[in-house]
Symmetry: C2
């Protein structure tokens, strides 16, 4: 069979373009990022939820961002003729779930999830077609306390990852500043969305003025004037002062911050890396009080943010904050004979019940080569099992790094390992 297979065209070992394989070393970093996200977010009283990556396409057709929906989603027709989209972001799913059980849920509601989300775009640094993203959202609080809590959570996350205050900056703005200008100028909703999208990419383009004029015509000068003369709002001042009170000293007001999604209604914020090597927006969020009304029923006020694994990993790399690789396995059992393998599996079983992670050597390699494997895998302790050990029920445990050895009875092995790690 194998011969026939080898004659066939070989299959490629490359993943699909623009997505990542996570070999154990990379997965340990992902796991560290996810665990830190969960731990800190739960410490604020947030509960985890989740959902499928598959959503009816219509969920995105109202209020996300036209560019994303029309050009960057993975959308297809299923075998039953339904239009399906791989979620490009989590907020519409979250809004759907909260709206669906609004009468059974206890508000204020604090929820989080770490979903994978999909965008069809040209792969480049920090831009992959699938990434994971912490979403933390607080529903049912219309006061600014919600913004303060959400931004303080964002700050606590950065610190839990090892960032110092001067490694990042939280820039806040207020969509209501734009809303009042739009009201004054009687700008239509459609034109508002275009202007916001243009503002969101202002830093990345050279011809902002020309493009703005193409959208707003004669009003463009007056729009810029009004925007530049508004450097703050009372909401922003209040949030800033409460954040300072909580020890968040690296928050600033910056009215050029817009955020790409149409659904924001109030305070918005973005967290920036301050290092010169990686000076860019890491993640952000804001208030979106109207989104749930798309599903019918009253509005439910909401504030939240999304924090992606790729940008955080880049940040951790830039600031040398990645944790070292640590094997999760504590003990490696070398085996000298077939009966030693069987005995070792039994010993391993007893130690696993005492919460020690144990790998049993099942190869027929020489002892020296077996120990090399343990070393390569970063497993700290080794016990070799031969006929003597089986007869005496006594084992010499070796700490590979220090070379220290100790001979122990079975029931003392777990405690010894715990005392050393």
């Amino acid at each position: 069979m194998a011969t026939e297979d080898n004659q066939q065209k070989k299959l490629s070992t490359e993943p699909y373009k623009g997505v990542r394989d996570f070999y154990p070393q990379d997965m340990q970093i992902e796991r560290y990022i996810f665990d830190t996200m969960s731990r800190v977010t739960e410490s604020f009283g947030y509960s985890e939820y989740s959902a499928s990556i598959l959503e009816p396409t219509e969920l995105y057709q109202s209020k996300t961002n036209d560019e994303i929906v029309n050009e960057q989603t993975y959308t297809f027709t299923d075998r039953g003729g339904r239009e399906v989209t791989l979620r490009p972001e989590m907020t519409p799913t979250l809004a759907r779930m909260v709206a669906g059980k609004r009468h059974d849920l206890t508000f204020p509601l604090r929820w989080y999830s770490i979903p994978n989300v999909f965008r069809y775009e040209r792969p480049q640094r920090g831009r992959v077609r699938e990434h994971w993203q912490l979403n933390a959202d607080l529903f049912g609080v219309s006061e600014l306390d919600a913004e303060v809590e959400i931004i303080s959570l964002a700050s606590s996350l950065m610190k839990a990852f090892g960032a110092e205050d001067n490694d990042f900056e939280i820039r806040m703005s207020d969509r209501s500043i734009l809303t009042s200008i739009f009201e004054e100028l009687k700008t239509s909703e459609e034109v508002q969305a275009k202007v916001m999208r243009l503002l969101d990419k202002r830093a990345k383009i050279d011809d902002f003025d020309t493009q703005l004029k193409a959208i707003l015509g004669e009003q463009s000068e007056s729009f810029v004037e009004k925007l530049e003369s508004t450097s703050s709002s009372s909401n922003l001042e209040l949030v800033l002062s409460q954040l300072k009170n909580l020890g968040v000293t690296n928050a600033v007001i910056d009215t050029s911050i817009v955020r790409g999604f149409d659904y924001y209604t109030g305070v918005v914020f973005e967290v920036f890396d301050t290092s010169s090597e990686n000076n860019r927006s890491l993640f952000g969020g804001g208030r979106y009080d109207n989104l749930l009304s798309l599903f019918g029923g009253d509005k439910i006020p909401a504030v939240g943010f999304g924090m992606g694994d790729v940008t955080i990993r880049d940040f951790l790399e830039t600031h040398d904050l990645l944790p070292p690789y640590n094997a999760r396995t504590e003990l490696f059992l070398c085996t000298l004979t077939q009966s030693a393998k069987e005995y070792a599996q039994k010993l391993a079983q007893a130690l696993r019940e005492q919460d020690i992670n144990v790998e049993v050597a099942l190869s027929d390699k020489k002892v020296g080569d077996q120990i090399k494997i343990a070393n390569k895998k970063g497993i700290p302790f080794v016990i070799c099992i031969g006929e003597d050990e089986i007869k005496n029920e006594s084992f010499t445990i070796k700490h590979l790094e220090s070379g220290e050895e100790k001979t122990l009875k079975e029931d003392a092995v777990a405690d010894y390992i715990f005392s050393k790690i």
Copy 2:
């Protein structure tokens, strides 16, 4: 804006057909299942890996199961003209990853992952279009020690979920029994695959004999005769005796076990629920020594299994083994005034740094109603913050279930909670 939205067609709050939303109570069960899977599998020395759900379609066209690939995958063309499939199972991805770095990896290799996998099929009990599945695989061991370890891991998982020996049964067979019969009968590979698929669904169909005759013609009687006269193999006897040695007493040999995938080459097994309410196969696996040669290079022996979240959850429900819901938040801070809210956020921050999960009341509800919220969410402890507490820096902590109260200074709160939980 909200008024205009309400006039639009309301969006549905239903998820896409055949997939699940995980509200926090359901998510806690998923989390329990995933954490148990990780903990037990890591105790055997397995390292976590992961990959994208998106795979090039060609990955599945060689060796999975034609019925699944042609009728049950989610396959579509991306915006760049590539054929993409949402993985229907993890093994091809795993094989691709191991083959891709075969020269850098240290064998034997023990890897696990808990991916979501997709199948387009009619939703029914235990069959959804997206489910999560522990995959644990051991590469590089051609001896039966690998089967023994993998099956003993499967057994340890069941026991970690609270199952007793008589709640489940491990039924083992050996593909090599079929292989020798096929060799004797000179059956073509294509016909072999058809026969195996038929055998796999034997228990579910009435016209097995007719269907077999349609495939094997005159040879069908002789095939059945040979199969029924073979009740075991030396490999099975060896695995069985080693498992008994390890205390796995509920393994049996049952040559009617086949498994649905074409790539198995040796011992295969399925774990069955023994309860009369849920008497069915829960999960299974086996040896697949040839799969990696699809990617070129030498064969790499492999044994593994997949354990799905839906069937395990059904099993836990049937046997009353689901864990009770426990709030992850330990303390709820009631707030009587605006300044109390701000003070409470600061107190919460200090307690979170001591590993207490704290929710701050941000609503303007009365104290009694705030405490009701804490109760409804299952949060065990409450402290109410008013002007007196702020002035005296002294807090009365109440255990909601017992009604017990104690007045403490800030620095004693965390220790008090730890002592009670």
